[in-house]
């Protein structure tokens, strides 16, 4: 039962009459096992039927490919039979003739008697022997559909494709046919892909339900496993204890997609521009579309002053792309003028962002979600993130006094804490930041209870070294630059880096208000493109001297920048420094993607530590906050190919797989984590958004 059908990175683009194009499906990846029954579900226009036609070979993918048993699907064939929504029976032929046409043309080499037997058996299988000599016009809708199924199965296809097979039937007929189809498919052992918009039908028939997001650029939003044993009976399925939970997942997904669509269109309407996320004019992306107070169309074309973007940041190695982009003029000067605004404290930066004194900020990866959720008693604010700025780069730095007491590993720390009897005081740059989540996760994985055995305190990164010196704190987690300073000053040593916790985690992201992004698409694209070009240079080892020169300027890190950029990472624990590959990552390996799966992990941790209930509408929230579409636009503006996230579960250093389709199971599997409450989270409303972003 290996993989039978592989849909590999399939994108389908339809040309439009006006010369533009419509991206119906984007980057679809799916593997289907032999004999599996998979349903595709989603709102109309989500590209379900397009995907089915691609599987049938009736249309071809614009990029990517579909493999069946290792061979590429290039044209339709009888090994993949389609049952169309409107039956597609030939009205001038009787039931028998319709089935015979398929059997006779596909099994032409078999003897006539055998073919006749197959035809009779197929008609009998769907219980239509009595109507074999009737033409379709004399049959009811349900009977026609049975003929279509009989025709499809008569030639023993390897893959059966059903396009809303029961959509046009009354409820009673539909129920009977579903039961029959299930039996037939099971007896024939045929792999089946069915498009439907009926949640119960999907649950009754499928082994897996693939939920598709709204088009354009529809993609797989979530995959649900349906664990009911086969053979199934409708009543048994409905009475199964998991049934309503699974049904709730499906309905919740569809609801969230609908709200997301309404939300997008209301934001776009408020901004006065067409939401063109999928429909990009043939002329490409206009890098000069934004304007300070948007947007009478007549003014879009004329020459304009570059738009000023005030961008807030905290100095650190993470903002290297910003420094490089400004130093080397990588921003499109005709479109934007970027004014970097340094801050010493994260809470000050966020306040300025909410006041719209800053248009954009480089924040912790957790900030966009935390702002939307209103964590820490704040008013929920509609932040979005169009790109990830940096990955990795944190280290946990402990006071050297602990090294003297033999604390070299996490286990040592645990033992030391048990003996000490009073909680550890650790500084984080910001409560609820990515650094804190990583630290908590790492501590918990090592048997240290972050809530009882540790006291977290927020300190400005600039004062953390001082905190160690004054013994105000026992240690801190911060970026490499601050840690290197403390090590250099012999105040601290490194107990763990985030390579020991989650290698490749998102660290800093670009954050702005949804409304600003909608109003200033050109400016945002130009900003993202400049940062991406700079990020590539930051990742290039050959540019290191140049990077040191730039970061050594006073407005960035100052003269000590060099110590943070040493090739060898000095742990300060008297052991030999090691080269840490990929410690700071800016560009390569799909670093820029605002990845919803990572967002789902962040949400799981928020609820793990009891900061908020786990959002039952997480996909809606993530879909609203994480904007890979904007990332793609910036990538295109910078001349890079578009990126897409991996749908496979990822693992942190504790090796527990995190599956974005099933975050609750992950939470349950974490050590000592009680099952968190699950509740819908109201998202910031449009009126509040409009007020705040003005």
């Amino acid at each position: 039962m290996g993989r039978f059908l592989t849909i590999d990175d399939v994108t389908k683009v339809f040309p439009l009459k006006d010369g533009g194009h419509y991206i119906a499906l984007k980057d679809i990846d799916l593997e289907i096992k032999e004999g599996e029954f998979v349903s595709l579900i989603g709102h109309s226009g989500c590209g379900k039927s397009t995907l089915l036609n691609l599987l049938a070979g009736l249309t071809q993918a614009s990029s990517g490919g579909i493999l069946i048993d290792g061979r590429e699907v290039k044209e339709p064939g009888p090994d993949r039979m389609v049952v169309f929504q409107n039956y597609s029976l030939l009205p001038w032929q009787t039931v028998r003739q319709n089935v015979a046409l398929a059997v006779n043309s596909v099994m032409a080499s078999s003897p006539v008697a055998e073919r006749k037997q197959i035809i009779d058996r197929s008609i009998k299988m769907v219980g239509l022997s009595h109507a074999a000599d009737k033409v379709p016009a004399e049959l009811s809708g349900g009977m026609k559909q049975r003929v279509a199924i009989a025709r499809a199965l008569s030639i023993r296809p390897r893959l059966l494709l059903l396009d809303e097979p029961f959509g046009a039937l009354d409820a009673l007929t539909r129920g009977n046919l579903q039961q029959q189809l299930m039996q037939i498919c099971q007896e024939a052992g045929v792999t089946t892909v069915m498009v439907t918009h009926d949640v119960d039908e999907a649950l009754l028939l499928s082994d897996r339900v693939v939920m598709m997001t709204n088009g354009p650029e529809a993609e797989i939003g979530q995959i649900l496993n349906v664990p009911f044993a086969r053979p199934r009976q409708r009543l048994e399925v409905i009475e199964h204890p998991d049934y309503y939970h699974l049904r709730g997942e499906l309905i919740g997904f569809l609801h969230q997609q609908r709200r997301l669509r309404q939300h997008r269109s209301s934001v776009a309407a408020a901004a006065g521009v067409v939401a063109a996320s999928g429909v990009v004019a043939a002329t490409g992306i206009d890098g000069r579309q934004g304007d300070a107070n948007a947007l009478p169309p007549a003014r879009k074309q004329g020459p304009r002053r570059p738009e000023t973007i005030r961008l807030g940041f905290l100095p650190g190695l993470d903002i290297a792309p910003l420094a490089v982009a400004l130093d080397q003029s990588l921003f499109d000067g005709a479109a934007i003028e970027v004014v970097p605004v340094p801050f010493a404290r994260w809470d000050r930066l966020e306040a300025k962002l909410l006041e719209a004194d800053l248009q954009v900020a480089i924040t912790s990866a957790t900030s966009p979600l935390a702002l939307n959720l209103g964590l820490g008693g704040r008013t929920p604010w509609p932040a979005i993130t169009p790109m990830t700025v940096s990955r990795n780069g944190n280290a946990l730095c402990m006071a050297r006094s602990l090294l003297a007491q033999g604390v070299r590993r996490r286990a040592d720390l645990r033992q030391w804490l048990l003996n000490r009897g009073q909680p550890l005081t650790l500084a984080v740059p910001e409560l609820g930041s990515m650094a804190e989540l990583l630290l908590r996760h790492w501590l918990a994985a090592g048997g240290i209870d972050p809530d009882r055995q540790v006291r977290f305190t927020a300190l400005s990164p600039m004062t953390m070294g001082g905190g160690l010196r004054t013994q105000q704190i026992d240690g801190f987690i911060a970026g490499r630059y601050r840690v290197a300073e403390a090590v250099e000053d012999r105040q601290g040593y490194v107990l763990a880096t985030d390579l020991d916790i989650w290698s490749g985690h998102p660290e800093k992201v670009l954050t702005c208000s949804e409304r600003w992004a909608e109003d200033h698409p050109g400016a945002l694209d130009a900003l993202g493109a400049g940062l991406m070009k700079a990020a590539e240079r930051c990742d290039d080892g050959g540019q290191r001297p140049e990077l040191i020169r730039i970061l050594s300027q006073n407005q960035w890190l100052g003269r000590r920048a060099e110590i943070a950029l040493q090739r060898q990472f000095d742990y300060g624990n008297d052991e030999k420094p090691q080269a840490l590959l990929q410690f700071n990552r800016y560009h390569f390996d799909r670093a820029h993607i605002p990845n919803r799966a990572e967002g789902a992990w962040i949400l799981s941790q928020f609820s793990r530590w009891g900061w908020c209930p786990f959002p039952s509408n997480r996909l809606e929230l993530l879909g609203q906050v994480y904007r890979p579409d904007l990332c793609d636009r910036a990538l295109a503006a910078a001349g890079y190919p578009s990126l897409r996230p991996d749908r496979h579960p990822f693992r942190l250093a504790d090796d527990l797989p995190f599956d974005q389709d099933n975050p609750l199971d992950y939470l349950k599997a974490l050590p000592g984590a009680p099952e968190p409450p699950v509740a819908p989270i109201p998202l910031p409303s449009l009126s509040a958004r409009a007020l705040l972003s003005r």
Binding site: L58, P78, R80, L90, W92, L101
Partner: protein, 280 residues
Amino acid sequence: MSHSASATSLSQPTRRRLKNPVLRGVLPYVVCIGGFLLLWQALSLILGTGRLPGPINVITDTWDPYINQPFFDNGGTSKGLGWQILISLQRVALGYGLAAVVGIAIGGLLGLNRFIGKGFDPVIQVLRTVPPLAWFPISLMVFQNANTSAIFVIFITAIWPIIINTAVGIREIPEDYTNVSRVLRLRKSEYISNIVIPATVPYVFTGLRIAVGLAWLAIVAAEMLKADGGIGYFIWDAYNAGGDSSSSQIILAIIYVGLVGLALDRLVAWTGSKVAQGGH
């Protein structure tokens, strides 16, 4: 009192109509056609029966021999109206039959092959608008024979709607059916016999029905110009003879032409419905 009175007055007209369903069925015809005949008779009285015979004159003038003996034959072109119509029908049958065969073949080709279909489209669009009689001189010059020329005129008039409708019918085959053939990988011959032909039949018969009307239109005109025998010839001959009953003969012939045209149209429509039975 007033209540029951209003009830009767409301139900009365309904009851009266329901009483005589047969009368209700034929009443519109009787009234309208009767009115038309009366008007005609009145016009005839005003203009004088010499210029426009009334309906009664037409019947009395032509009763013997044209109405009561449709199939008399005095030799030469002096034949009953039945013969004349048969002569015309024979020509139509030849020209129209030829047009149907050639038209369906060409239309099929144009519909199946997009390249040829596109290339010939302008030619068809221009030629189909040419009035039937414009073809007559050139066909006389080519065939040197009035009878053949008349048949050719029928042919060239009737062929265009057949070609166009056949081609459109093939191009408009619902995608569902072509998808079925693509999935089953039907051979071209199977595709044509199982899908193209049945799906196109209704379109072809629409074309044939338009064509038969045009053909009948053209034959009468062609026979009036140059022919021996035929209903068109009869009309023109009666006019040239200039006798007392000429006007009545012409009017009678016109009525026959109309009736035959209607019959042809219904015949083709009926055949079409029989052939396409089970489909659509």
